[in-house]
Symmetry: C2
Subunit: 395 residues, 2 copies
Amino acid sequence: MTSTGPARQASLRERNLATVARAVVDAPEPLSRADVAARTGMTRATVSTLVDQLIEAGLLTELPAVSSGPGRPAVPLAPAARTVVGLGLEVNVDYLGGRVVDLTGEVVDEIVIAENLRGSPAPATLERLGHLARDLMARARGMRVAGAHLALPGLVDTRANLLRIAPNLGWSDVEPLALLGLPASLPATVGNEAKLAALAQLWGCPVAERASRTFLYVSGDVGIGAAIVIDGALFGGKRGWSGELGHVTVDPAGPTCRCGASGCLERYAGKEVLVTDVGLDIDVADDVLVDRLSAPDARTAVSTAGAALGQAMADAVNLLDIDRVLLGGVYTGLVPLLRPAITEQLRTRVLGAPWAPVDVVPAPVADHAALTGGAAASLRAVVEDPMPWIAAAAG
Amino acid sequence: MTSTGPARQASLRERNLATVARAVVDAPEPLSRADVAARTGMTRATVSTLVDQLIEAGLLTELPAVSSGPGRPAVPLAPAARTVVGLGLEVNVDYLGGRVVDLTGEVVDEIVIAENLRGSPAPATLERLGHLARDLMARARGMRVAGAHLALPGLVDTRANLLRIAPNLGWSDVEPLALLGLPASLPATVGNEAKLAALAQLWGCPVAERASRTFLYVSGDVGIGAAIVIDGALFGGKRGWSGELGHVTVDPAGPTCRCGASGCLERYAGKEVLVTDVGLDIDVADDVLVDRLSAPDARTAVSTAGAALGQAMADAVNLLDIDRVLLGGVYTGLVPLLRPAITEQLRTRVLGAPWAPVDVVPAPVADHAALTGGAAASLRAVVEDPMPWIAAAAG
DNA sequence: GATAGTTTGTATAGCCAATGAACTTATTCG
DNA sequence: CGAATAAGTTCATTGGCTATACAAACTATC
């Protein structure tokens, strides 16, 4: 209730350090101190001291100076490689794994174990993942791990780091962090798989490829999750349960869903429906499914799913006023097939469509995006608040 | 793209002034300087200088000291009455008007003209409203008008202050601010009626009655608009077109909507449908309609509308993770009638419902809420950034 | 009814961080 | 080689918050 805290002198430092760090990390190409000053409006003197601190803390590095034109050549700055890293973890129906990413966005290390985890025992599986995570951390010796984010396919209470229910894993009411057994000093949180994957689209790839800062990310798998990103910020809702697109009603008279309601999107466009429509097994690889759905006799299956997806998306767009949708998960490869039906729905059902059509594109980061997103989220926290790292480096 | 600006020393002042102003304005009862210090974490010395400036600027006042218990009696602080005011304006299908509100939340003055404005000519009507607004400003001589917000029932591009389309007025592509002819020095914006009404729920009533800071406000009239408020901030979407709940699809095979799509919520729970269901005219007063819908023979009409409303709300809640819905407009009085059908839908369709049921309550501010909300929005801007007012008072 | 006790509000010295202007450094161009 | 140019650094100055001490205004008690 009580607004934001007081602004002390130290707050100035905090904010300006973050501003400088952001400027360098988010820049498409290396900036000099002078560039940063011009871009942020600070004086070169201020930027200089801040940059020095960020270098000292291991968050930025100086690249070799290159001279172009008259004047003293600029010293280009870039995020430091392999000094501070983030750890992304995930358990999903068909694999479990971890990925280590550094501030440059490079994947430093990863372990991914493909395996069917439907109905696996939560404690044992999470203990295995914890072991895997500790292995990764041991292999990252010399680098400081900023934090870990665990992605799970289900309803995660982000305030309590509690998994309420993950229907496809068959898990419910799990406290995953306790079972992982990570060092207590490591900031760790649990998040929904789709939301962390969305963050990967925002930060987890080279700057040029990054998604615009406002979009809806839709992740198709057995369940259909979504994440809402507005102006570079994830919109999680009150408990982090936003984006349950899979249970938006497509037709109230439709088939019953696992969730107990009727006519949910999942029953029209979920992976289970897609595979059975074309006579495949749920464990089929995504590219095989895409191939099979490209065949002429799969056209009605595809257009039915696309229409349902488009209808649900239209509802979301009408509620949220978003003009860009990224399709991830199984849908990534299906974009060309699904797009006609989707855009038709968006065109007719979105009230604002005449003035700004909605873009539907495949998600740029596809490969285990939630792992990258989880790692990137930890790193983002460092960029947004570098002060603790300065203090630690000085101490 | 380029992050936030630099933090100068002056930024500290700006932020702390805002923090103090917020603390006093949002407090349920008057706070002393010492209270503010304790609550914000600043020192009494700092708070003292800041409070003095805010008093000087006419934003706060000292109330007579009351002594209770030992020690020097505290001087209670409160928002100043009738010094700075906000102006809310609105054109809707059945009236046009303006309202002047001060920092205490009191309505200082208002002019409301009940009148059927469907199909009225936009330029003439807005010029009339402009005249009315100038009258109100003249009558508020001695008070400083912080800003004006015009509420319109339609798609408003909040970045360009452009009305794209207001189907119920029959207006399209209007630039309302130019037609109002307000003084150029007055900050003025145009907004959607439902969104400004939602802001009234947040700020426009005595603190105790204020809605919690996260809710969905649904305004039922001919159209059905909604506004999403998360943590005290309106979620407008990219252009301010969020909350088009009236065009969420209830049944893709349903009747055709004015918007061209089929089965929109508006066709099940809009006022037009409600009145024709019970044989009334569209111009009927809201309380007459409520009375008529309370009759036993209106039960199916009510439950059909409630179920549709509940289904659309469930979609919204699944996407947004909000656990409180305020019903405004015609719906305010219908809450007891509609609630059973609505909550049934929410209970079965909202994925998170087992862990946190959704509250459905009538909106606390009902009477021309958009007027109050528009005025309150201007005042909120003053509270959130008092610095310019300090400077003006000093100069 | 004077005095101790308590809390509010104000004054003053000190500190921290950003500024601006001058200065140094490193390059290109003529 | 020197003039021009731009990057980065140094340093006195300024603004704003903190801490500490102090003045003010009240209650409670002997």
